[in-house]
């Protein structure tokens, strides 16, 4: 009897130890995942001279807001790029959701005669991709889309066959009776879509919409390929250009050896925080919608 209790205690202790190890390990993994973000924020609030002496730390050294003050002395370009990014994210997401849900709906209707052909038409684009250069030629030399920056930043990547298929399998799974009874009552396809199927898909629209927003928000390749005017630089591309310019400036100054004062590393880190921070915070709050996107993405029709 006593030995039994003792062995039970030993087992409980063993389980407790294992669980503690798991917690410790997961906490370390989690902290490593957010470590760069913390270090960058800390750096942006630090004094460059102190950092150069003592190295970087989790807590800002010689706490100050000079870098942020500097950025907000000339905020025009940053604000403009924020505007561009918000505009293309909104347009791209709105357009993308509408176009791919409409296509997905049409492809989900079993009584649609062209269904088979058009599904194949979509699947082929998932299997075979012409690649960067032919697309570049079509956009730039054939259509000359780059002359309309907001269009070239949204349209070429607006339709994603994968999302179309997600919408398709979702619409195919809607309760048949609801749509059918509305059809018998004389509702046409537009009405079925906009008054019944679309409102029933709010969670899906939210999930796929967020994936679109994340995509457009973080995109920079189209800007690099097609946008010539700095007024139309989205945030991510602006960030990249600024970093490159500062590096070029540093190299030049090292080579020439002048005493010109250039923006220190803390300013660059502040740029990163200003450019990437707010959106990341929002995405973090909306995490569960992304998670639903992943878990439902595996189910296809």
């Amino acid at each position: 009897m006593t030995s039994n209790i003792r062995s039970q205690r030993v087992m409980q202790l063993a389980e407790f130890t294992t669980k503690s190890f798991i917690h410790a390990f997961l906490l370390i993994v989690g902290l490593l995942c957010i470590l760069p973000m913390i270090l960058v924020v800390s750096y942006s609030l630090s004094d460059d001279v102190l950092i150069a002496e003592r190295g970087i730390s989790l807590i800002p050294q010689g706490f100050n807001l000079y870098s942020y003050e500097f950025i907000f002395t000339f905020p025009e370009q940053v604000i403009r790029s924020y505007g561009v990014t918000i505009l293309i994210s909104a347009l791209g997401t709105g357009g993308g959701l509408l176009v791919s849900s409409l296509l997905g709906y049409a492809l989900s209707r079993t009584y649609f005669k062209m269904r088979g052909t058009l599904v194949l038409y979509c699947v082929i684009t998932m299997l075979f991709n012409a690649g960067l250069v032919p697309t570049y030629l079509v956009v730039k030399t054939m259509l000359q889309l780059h002359k309309i920056p907001w269009l070239v930043l949204t349209l070429p990547t607006m339709i994603m066959p994968f999302y179309v298929m997600m919408f398709r399998s979702h619409f195919a799974g809607l309760p048949h009776e609801i749509l059918e009874s509305a059809r018998i009552d004389g509702a046409g396809e537009w009405r079925l879509f906009f008054n019944i199927a679309f409102p029933l898909s709010k969670p899906w629209l939210a999930t796929i919409g967020l994936m679109y927003i994340l995509k457009y928000w973080n995109e920079w390749i189209p800007a690099m390929l097609y946008v010539e005017n700095a007024k139309w630089y989205p945030l991510q591309y602006l960030l990249q250009v600024m970093m490159r310019n500062v590096q070029a400036l540093e190299a030049m100054i090292q080579a020439v050896g002048t005493q010109v004062k250039i923006p220190g590393p803390s300013l660059r880190m502040a740029m990163v925080v200003v450019a990437a921070g707010p959106a990341m915070f929002v995405f973090m709050l909306l995490q569960r919608y992304f998670i639903r996107g992943i878990t439902s993405g595996a189910v296809k029709g």
Binding site: V29, F112, M114, A130, V139, I159, A276, A298
Partner: protein
Amino acid sequence: MATITPRVNQELLARDRSAARRNTLITNVTLFLMALPGIAMLFVFNYLPLYGLVIAFKDYRFAKGIWGSEWVGFNNFRFIFGAGMGWRITGNTVFYNLLFIFSGLVGALLLALLVNEIHRNRMARVYQAMSFLPHFVSWVVVGIFANFFLRSDGGVVAKLLLALGQDRIVFYQSPQYWPAIMVVINLWKGVGFGSIVYLTGMMGIDEEYYEAASIDGANRWQQIWFITLPLLMPLIITLTLLQLGGIFRGNLEMFVQMVGNNPLLYPTTDIIDTFVFRSLLNLGNLGMAGAASLFQSVVGLVMLLATNYTVKKLREDQALY
């Protein structure tokens, strides 16, 4: 009454039938109109460029356009593969994808298993949220982070090595370190995201299996080894096969932002996608870029068809199409 009803029904039926016929036409036209914007976009941005692939067989000049440029047969391919560059970029692309698939699978599975062990604890969600966060960081910012850690003057890793009494490593001049660096970055950015699918799979496993096993005296390790992993195997195999289908497609954004255009690192970091990007933007050699693209698309298609065929054999519902 009883005699009238059938006749009325007959009329109604006839009217219904013609209405139905009209309806199917209207319905089909309407559905086609709904599909049209998406179909048109796919045509312009996915089908039209296919025609541009002929530049792979041409000496493309902007001034002459696609048609006007001279045919050169397989010269572009010969140039890429003759100098050994084609094999290098193909090898690197496949090598990195294999590394990413394997490390990603192990990392995601491990994370999912551990979170699953404590999933009743409130902290499980916190760990998950923390590991998921890098998924939202753009590659531009990841590149800046990496530079911040790896730069030889005052980078975090350099300081760490100095503190440990190690020699200074100039990462941006030493190609041999990059496979490891890329694996770490890829894990950092993707492990939280990747673990969610497996975690969902684990949550779906019936508790009764574990109860039965623990009555039979199986400990947690045995339960993981003999219940969780075998039941998860179909999911693991399917996802891995689907990833293998994309083995010839590199992550352009990642490699451009992490490495930049750094010839010193080409031996271990130049993949097909970066080669195409460079040929387009820096070298202006579109014929060569087109040739590399076409090669990538063709072998990629073969790979996708093969893996999808296998998935279909194994699990009908999980196939891509």
